[in-house]
């Protein structure tokens, strides 16, 4: 069975500073990897996903993530954050080759941007 660990429950950052949100996963088979964002009082929105190919994946709003198979990690980064990036961020995995695609989520990381 897969599992996802987000190492930081909260990350406070100053505006325009860089940020990294950490995600590690565990699975006995190959997986797809996702980062979703949840703004206050809204649903989950896909930021980016890794399916195959280049290990550096670029997403919306200037975010990117790097898949590292040897370290089973998929950390999310942004070089310069804005107040509007304040949200909860969820890392998720799904197994390749299964039927309907079940997502397994991490605990979430609350990103708070301070002016």
């Amino acid at each position: 069975a897969q599992s996802v660990t987000q190492l930081d429950s909260q990350v406070p950052v100053f505006e325009e500073a860089p940020v990294e949100l950490r995600c590690n996963y565990s699975s006995s088979v190959s997986v797809y990897l996702f980062w979703y964002v949840q703004y206050p009082n809204q649903g989950l929105q896909l930021l980016l996903k890794y399916l195959s190919g280049s290990t550096l994946v670029k997403g919306i709003n200037g975010f990117e993530a790097e898949f590292n198979k040897s370290q089973t990690s998929f950390h999310l980064r942004k070089p310069s954050v804005h107040i509007s990036d304040t949200a909860e961020y969820f890392c998720a995995v799904s197994e390749l080759g299964r039927g309907a695609q079940k997502l397994v989520f991490g605990q979430g990381t609350r990103l708070t941007i301070n002016p």
Partner: protein, 114 residues
Amino acid sequence: EPEVTQTPSHQVTQMGQEVILRCVPISNHLYFYWYRQILGQKVEFLVSFYNNEISEKSEIFDDQFSVERPDGSNFTLKIRSTKLEDSAMYFCASNRDRGTDTQYFGPGTRLTVL
């Protein structure tokens, strides 16, 4: 841009009552899902649905839960006899194809069981 919608946004019910949470997935999507998030905890998979039947369900999805696509547009989650521990945010999601296709999530229904 098409989106997944859910109603109601907030449902308050008494323990032991039945509730039905409603979702309208994106119109050309074929796979449908329910997830829940208990306050302060991670988002958990409940059930997936395709071709008018359940594809997979988690151990949370016991006999008190059921899903239905009654009319080709709505996708519902019914909890027959609610318990206090059913209090959570319930998210509906859909996608057009399995595997690589992105799941689109609705805004959620907050269920409070008193």
